[in-house]
């Protein structure tokens, strides 16, 4: 576990400056046009005013619960699917890869809407409500948003791991292990998977940023009381604070991840030398 405080401060500084610039720019270009009755630390939904503090913490916790459960679900699903795929014959693998490319190009909005509509359709047709499709009376829903948010990362991670797996299977150590008479299942589980996990770690940034953007659409369509919804409805100083609340924990995560992937790369270079 590497963590250098100095470089983190540098990253923190640039993040804060960037968010500050972004929150000031709209007012700079088009003038300040918040309604007069709206106070700085308030936001309105359907004409009703709410206070930003301490609402934002509850919302943040709720959003992050959904975010990380979806991430874990996606990761697990991707790994299990990859494992199953490697045991399939070659031509089926190619078919699956093609289907993944097709699925990958679906916009997030499309997936969210289709899932919501299909749950309602199932309810209408059979009377079985698979999961609640919208927040009613501050009663938070979890199952459907998590599943929806997990769909696209699963597809992406599945594709990445499949590619990595293909690369990894031609490496000498796998051939040696095969020659030693070890089973394909054993090699994949015991050796290949471990190496893939470290390589997979390098894609953390793409996945995280992509998922944050998806989280916003999921929150909007399912009408969740999440933190992204707050980000959309606040302006100026309140926007700045909300954005910082989202950004700070993630920047710590990114810093740790970046340091550790760097050390992995260095180790690889040392090995090569």
């Amino acid at each position: 576990m590497n963590f250098s405080f100095h470089s983190y401060l540098k990253r923190l500084r640039s993040t804060v400056i960037g968010i500050l610039i972004i929150s000031v720019l709209p007012a700079l270009f088009f003038g300040i046009n918040t309604k007069l009755e709206q106070k700085v630390w308030q936001y309105s939904i359907n004409g009703i005013m709410y206070d930003v503090f301490p609402d934002v913490f509850d919302r943040y916790m709720y959003s992050m619960t959904i975010f990380f459960s979806a991430l874990l679900t996606g990761l697990l699903a991707a790994l299990v699917l990859t494992f199953i795929t490697t045991l399939l014959p070659k031509f089926l693998q190619r078919v699956i890869y093609g289907v993944l490319t097709l699925l990958e190009s679906l916009p997030d909005l499309f997936i969210v809407v289709v899932l919501q509509v299909s749950v309602i359709y199932i309810y209408k047709a059979t009377g079985i409500l698979v999961a609640n499709v919208s927040n009613v009376y501050n009663n938070p829903i979890y199952l459907l948003p998590i599943l929806t948010l997990a769909v696209l990362p699963t597809i992406q991670l599945f594709k990445i791991t499949l590619l990595l797996m293909k690369e990894e299977q031609h490496k000498p150590y796998v051939t040696v292990a095969r020659a030693m008479g070890l089973g394909r299942l054993y090699i994949t589980l015991k050796h290949v998977f471990r190496n893939i996990l470290t390589s997979l770690f390098q894609y953390y940034k793409t996945i995280f940023v992509f998922m944050l953007s998806n989280l916003f659409i999921v929150e909007y369509v399912f009408n969740l009381n999440g933190v992204m919804f707050l980000l959309l409805n606040t302006q100026g100083a309140a926007f700045l604070v909300t954005a910082l609340i989202i950004a700070l924990p993630f920047s710590v995560l990114f810093e740790i991840a970046e340091n550790n992937t760097a050390s992995v790369d260095e180790r690889k270079e040392e090995d090569a030398a």
């Binding site: 400056i17 709209p26 046009n33 679906l106 916009p107 919501q116 989280l215 954005a243």
Partner: protein, 311 residues
Amino acid sequence: MIIKLMKQPQFVIGMLFIACLLIFSFYWPSLLDVNKKESLKLLDFLYDKDGKVIGAAPFPPSEIPPFGTDLAGKQLFYQVIDGAKYTIIIAIVIAFFRILFSVGITLLNPKSNFSYLNDIVQATLYIPTAILAYLFMNALLVKSELDSMSFSKLIVLQALILIGIGVPPLISTFSREIKTILNRDYIINTFALGSKKSYVYFKHVLPELSTKLFLLFAQQVIQSLILLAHLGVLTIFIGGSRTLMLGDFLDPMPYNIPLAGEWAGIIGMSFSKLQAAPWVILTPLSFFAITIFALNLMVQGIQNCLETNKT
């Protein structure tokens, strides 16, 4: 390069699809032999032979094939076909100017780090692009309501916002690319032999970047399409909207109708009625998905081309 791209089947298929969609969208009244005004009119009620009302808008696809009508009773099929040209052209224009501006700004001073832009890029990691665009667009829309703006000025300003949002991350990729090219031996030699900067940029740097530029352009078109769809859901329409009063005299229903007929507008206009008429949302959304898939095919073709170049 173009000949090589033409040999990639995926690229050709994607390209053909987009081209066909555009041509169809421009010439559909003559191709389908229908009157444009007639097919885009409002169709509130459906009458049987005796003049009795047998149905009211919105009609599902089963009643009015192939895609049904929207909440006001406009036929979705014609709307989607007509909107294709606006949507695709807006996305292409945005992507083109994003690339143009970012390459231009990077070439102004290729040695600098653009540290302020890097700050913004760092921050935009945590703020989804749709929210970023919404912030600017909302401020612009409020301003345009306060002091009335002409249609063309509003569109230009909105396009500038959408272009500006994409530029900072692109600059940081380009500055990295261009720096590695400028550090090549032959470029250093060319400079040592006394050639002008502009000559080197146009003769050596841009040709070397060209395939990469094409790739980034296609990816930017995809991203702007997605951004347009998201903004549509947030009821921000390109070109502004006009409020139409529906419903009866005692119970008026304000109903925002986007002025430009692009797909995002069709989505946003009736997004709150998703449960009542899912086909109104799903039709333009699936067209978005198909277009993005075609563009992805093109991206794949370009990537294959890049890989064969390397080996």
